[in-house]
């Protein structure tokens, strides 16, 4: 006889990794698909054991060079937004210097895979950072604008409104009310 099965890939992936990581007593959290954050550093022994145990299921731990180009672009943008010194350089030249590809190549690869341009992604990520700073710190909008290199609060508010459809104050009011629920 033949049985037909269907399965939830995400659940299989998470359950499997959870079992293997817990067996080795590794503290972790899931990032975006295919990304696992390990708390602290992993000893060479544990990394080898994890590599071996995952290999049985056809799961391979990627070395830095193998992480897909798109992930590397996204990570580079994260660094760029976190470090004010990096932003003395333009995003396009920063990315091509760091990843050793022409910006045109990076830009095409990014749009083809994510349905979005690098610039749009950067703005989305930047606004995400603004949201985080608004919710989790006591920084004022003026301070946040300065920290993220906006020329003025008006510029920040404008980009926030254009990207999210909400004004920063309405967003904050909703988030505060949500936290009280």
């Amino acid at each position: 006889m033949t049985l037909f099965v269907k399965y939830d890939f995400d659940l299989v992936y998470k359950t499997l990794l959870k079992e293997q990581l817990e067996a080795l007593d590794i503290a972790y959290s899931f990032g975006s698909l295919g990304e696992i954050h390990i708390e602290g550093k992993l000893s060479k022994d544990k990394l080898d054991m994890l590599t071996a145990s995952l290999k049985r299921y056809g799961i391979e731990i990627l070395s830095k060079q193998n992480v897909t180009l798109i992930e590397r672009i996204k990570n580079a943008i994260d660094d760029y937004l976190q470090n004010k010194e990096l932003r003395s350089e333009k995003l396009s030249s920063y990315l091509s210097d760091k990843l050793h590809y022409s910006y045109a190549h990076l830009s095409t690869a990014f749009s083809e895979n994510t349905y979005n341009s690098i610039e749009n992604y950067m703005i989305l990520k930047k606004v995400d950072l603004v949201k985080e700073l608004m919710c989790n710190t006591s920084l004022t909008l003026t301070e946040i604008a300065f920290r993220l290199d906006y020329s003025s609060v008006a510029h920040l508010s404008g980009q926030f409104k254009k990207t999210t459809g909400l004004t920063p104050s309405l967003f904050l009011r909703i988030m505060k009310k949500k936290q009280q629920l």
Binding site: D8, Y115, N116
Partner: protein, 148 residues
């Protein structure tokens, strides 16, 4: 192009709106599979079936008979299996009160139903792109609130 397919559900009691939405989504480059529901109860009955593949994104009309959008949203957010689904409200109402209430109830995106087809296509595409980014990038889901 990526070969992933986005599973999308739409609950709307207006047949014309469902049809237009279907056409709009067909014209977008992102590969999708759309499931349509006539009202909120039909959607909730489907979502609570065991062994289904849950949609990546749900569009909810607010005013529907039997079970309206707000009720569905509350049920989705209080169900451990469904609470992390991305929900976009799709409504003709643009009252601040409705908007704020849906966000407080856990909506991620608030979309005003556009009044022409090309605008509709544009809006749906924007929602799909946002949802795609939230699925594939490291963005904070706690503050996933957008109005389009």
């Amino acid at each position: 192009m990526s070969d992933k397919i986005l599973n999308i559900a739409l609950a709307d009691d207006d047949e014309d709106d469902r049809m237009l939405f279907n056409e709009a989504i067909d014209e977008i480059a992102i590969r999708t599979k759309l499931s349509l529901f006539n009202h909120g109860q039909e959607l909730m009955d489907y979502l609570t079936l065991p062994n289904i593949v849950l949609p990546n994104l749900i569009f909810l009309d607010l005013n529907m008979p039997i079970k309206n959008g707000q009720q569905c949203l509350l049920e989705i957010r209080s169900n451990p299996r469904l609470k992390d689904l991305c929900v976009a409200i799709y409504s003709t109402s643009s009252s601040e009160k409705d908007i704020e209430e849906t966000f407080l109830n856990g909506a991620n995106i608030y979309v005003n139903k556009p009044n022409n087809f090309s605008k509709l296509r544009e809006v749906v595409e924007k929602v799909l792109q946002l949802n795609w980014q939230y699925h594939t990038s490291n963005l904070n889901k706690e503050t996933f609130l957008f109005r389009i």
